[in-house]
């Protein structure tokens, strides 16, 4: 092999390794309950009670002690007897498999299959996708609440090229994954089977604004207007107790 070919091959290997395209290396197996891993963390499992699935932003390892969504999950696990797990967006298949398992457990015990979903940034897309697939595969009876934080819906290409610093991310080269990450497939709340969608967005970091909208499009209108969202990556930590209360009160309302 000539040096030029070798150089090109090396470039692609390094690009893959360095570009944040972690999905190629992301495992998709279900870890044991209570054992935090970078791609997934199942905090608790039960044959009854609500099912809560949380997806952090695309680059956040699920065993990071500073991760806001992990804190949200831990607080929820203290207050809810049910099944609670956090999955990286790249481990979406593991999340789907886990939801199947929880659904089966409840079907066997005759318990209602109530799901609450939380997703931050690209994780919001994964949450929307799981919501849709959960209904399509008859895995759930009801979604009590979908909480999205700076969710990406329309215009992700523009987000990539216009705003995200990691424009070289090779995720752009994998269209099937963009489908996973798109929130456009999530149905709008009907107030019955899918009861509510709460989207938090951030305009400036000292404020902790909660903003309920039917879709996340408007979030990005603000995003485009402002040019950036300060603290976007950390918003899930600022609002983690609000999200906990959203999930809890949606459960209590039933």
């Amino acid at each position: 092999m000539c040096f030029r070919c070798f150089g090109s091959a090396l470039l692609w290997v390094l690009l893959l390794a360095a570009s944040g395209c972690t999905a190629l290396a992301t495992p998709n197996y279900l870890p044991p309950v209570g054992e935090p891993q970078a791609h997934a963390y199942i905090l608790e499992e039960s044959a009854t009670g609500p099912i809560v699935v949380l997806f952090p932003g695309r680059s956040a390892p699920t065993n990071d002690p500073n991760l806001g969504i992990l804190r949200t999950a831990e607080v929820l696990a203290d207050r809810i007897a049910g099944s609670i797990a956090v999955f990286n967006v790249h481990a979406y298949d593991a999340a789907h498999e886990w939801l199947q398992r929880q659904s089966e457990l409840r079907r066997e015990s005759g318990a209602p299959r109530r799901l609450a979903l939380v997703g931050h940034s690209w994780g919001a897309g994964a949450a929307g996708r799981l919501l849709e697939q959960g209904f399509a595969d008859d895995l759930i009876d009801e979604v009590t609440t979908l909480v999205t934080i700076d969710g990406i819906e329309e215009g992700y290409l523009w987000v990539f090229f216009g705003h995200m610093p990691s424009v070289f991310s090779l995720e752009i080269l994998f269209p099937h994954r963009l489908c996973v990450l798109s929130l456009t497939e999530a149905p709008t709340p009907d107030g019955q089977r899918f009861r509510e969608h709460i989207n938090y967005y951030q305009i400036d970091s000292p404020h902790l604004s909660g903003y309920i909208i039917p879709t996340a499009t408007q979030n990005h209108e603000v995003w485009f207007d402002c040019g950036s969202e300060l603290g976007h990556g950390n918003l899930d930590n600022y609002i983690c107790y609000l999200v906990v209360e959203d999930v809890l009160r949606a459960q209590e309302a039933k």
Partner: protein
């Protein structure tokens, strides 16, 4: 060295320059965690030293690292260390100029370590009373729930401009005190007359919708 060999070396060098420059872009979606981890690993003294940095980001990360170190100390039962760090953070708040750093101290670091620390709770109540980042203080108080929190947030709601009032009402919602029901009713009654056309880029129809949704999910008992 022949021309072809030299060209190959150049190609390889350029390829490597491009590849190695990519991690310089922040791949972590603006998230602070990758920057916090090494500071946490160096320990408390290194983090405290970073509090004197001229860069806001360094001080922000130092505060978050200190919050994590204190929380870890609490987990292993070292209450003394946790309180010591809480005192460092509160002292730093007093002369910190950056809005962002002050916000991190109130809304994140002290929230995670203040549960069994009356000094932290008193400090937060004082910040709320003094209108020093009252929304951040109110959210943390709503989590820690010391006595007098509802009254403190209510007083702040009554004296604040609508934009801040909006945030404080959300903190009141988070607190879950049934006494919030009439407060929300009164505020919603005055929205059309007294509130501005926009708050945080939301028009009146939008933010009214938010507050109405919050009113519906208030705890009533």
């Amino acid at each position: 060295m022949n021309a072809r060999y030299r060209q190959s070396i150049q190609t390889l060098a350029i390829s490597m320059m491009i590849a190695f420059s990519i991690p310089a872009c922040r791949m972590y979606e603006w998230r602070d965690e990758p920057n916090i981890r090494p500071v946490v690993a160096e320990g408390r003294d290194a983090a405290v030293e970073n509090l004197t940095s001229i860069w806001d980001d360094d001080r922000t990360i130092a505060c978050r690292a200190l919050g994590q170190l204190a929380a870890t100390a609490l987990e292993r039962g070292d209450v003394g260390e946790s309180r010591h760090i809480a005192n460092i953070l509160m002292a730093h708040f007093e002369h910190e100029a950056s809005h962002q750093v002050r916000s991190v101290i109130l809304a994140l670091a002290l929230r995670d370590i203040g549960q069994d620390n009356d000094t932290v709770k008193t400090f937060l109540l004082a910040r709320l009373a003094a209108d020093q980042l009252p929304a951040a203080a109110a959210y943390t108080l709503a989590v820690l729930r010391p006595p007098g929190t509802f009254e403190a947030i209510h007083a702040a709601v009554l004296r604040s401009e609508p934009e801040r009032r909006y945030e404080l009402l959300q903190a009141m919602w988070l607190l879950g005190d049934p006494r919030a029901v009439p407060v929300f009713r009164d505020q919603l009654r005055t929205i059309d007359r007294d509130w501005p056309s926009h708050i945080h880029n939301m028009d009146k129809h939008q933010y009214r919708k938010v507050l109405l949704a919050r009113q519906q999910s208030l705890r009533r008992e």
